[in-house]
Amino acid sequence: MTWASILATAAGCYLLKLAGLSVPERWLETPTIARMSALLPVALLAALAGVQAVATGTHLVLDARLAGVAVAAGLLVVRAPFIVVVAAAATTAALLRLLG
């Protein structure tokens, strides 16, 4: 099951990369397509961040995760490196659980 998802994702992602090297650039240069493709990663990443911060399965749960994400957001504002942001979020949540 997990293997099938990994292989299907790998096939899909590889074909997209290969298609990019193979199709004429002007196909992707129409303003509508260009604007959508610029905003699609933004929408997906924001949705993933939001859902992972407050959802557990199909329930909304507010817990130590949210504090971790808030710390991460603060660190991103001051342009901390990726690994620092992620580690600080985990540490914050872990400490809150340890204390609470």
Binding site: M1, T2, W3, A4, S5, I6, A10, G12, C13, Y14, L16, K17, L18, A19, G20, L21, S22, P24, E25, W27, L28, T32, R35, M36, S37, L39, L40, P41, V42, A43, L44, L45, A46, A47, L48, A49, G50, V51, Q52, A53, V54, A55, T56, G57, T58, A64, A67, G68, V69, A72, L76, F82, I83, V85, V86, A87, A90, T92, A93, A94
Partner: protein
Amino acid sequence: MSPVDPVEPSRRQGLGTTHWPTIRARVSRTAASVGVATGAYGLSFGALATAAGLSVPQTCATSLLIFTGGSQFALIGVLGSGGSGVSGTASAVLLGSRNLVYGASIAQLLGLRGARRLVGAQLVIDESTAVALGSHATVESEASERSLADRAGRLGFWSTGLAVFLLWNASTLIGALAGSVIGDPRTFGLDAAAPAAFLALLAPRLRGRPAWTTAVVAALVAITVVPLVPAGVPVLVAALVPVVAVLAKRSAPGARS
């Protein structure tokens, strides 16, 4: 895979040279430093993937075969939170669609044919595109010699792609081994590390009002539908936000962002 924006390659301080060995050394240094930076980031991917329930071989296969960070995080994020394999794959492939645009933007510069195109395709990611376009632009502005700029761009692509591939996969393995001995990921706050990682990937893309609006609306839409649809699907619903926004703007003439 780290948040590098290929659209605006960072202009490095020029040495004002048309000397190929100097250009080569500079491009190689950039490639190496980008590789090391993504290596650190691969550690967190490895640990989060095993926390999400993937085995060590599955985690390594993900980095080897999918090899595009955002999509890998999306896949394990959906699988780890109980989503179906289909919605995990759909989210990951949608996120990987930006590589289509990257590939198209460097296809002419690389000029790959046959087997080299098949190999090169796997290396089309945020970083290799950014360094290829960045090196090309820097040399072109300094040397105004097109062949030298093309050479620098191609070297930027291959050296960065290979450096990231090597270090990303090595660090994934180390992270996976470390993550698999941790036990309950919640104890170490790994469930907070996942959304933080997505936020960190998002941050460099938040430039301008349309991006901010899309991000806020997409997150709100996704969270709102969490109780209504199966796990993994909210993210796919949010993917419709930019489609609707762009089409709505297009049908409203005169509206500018």
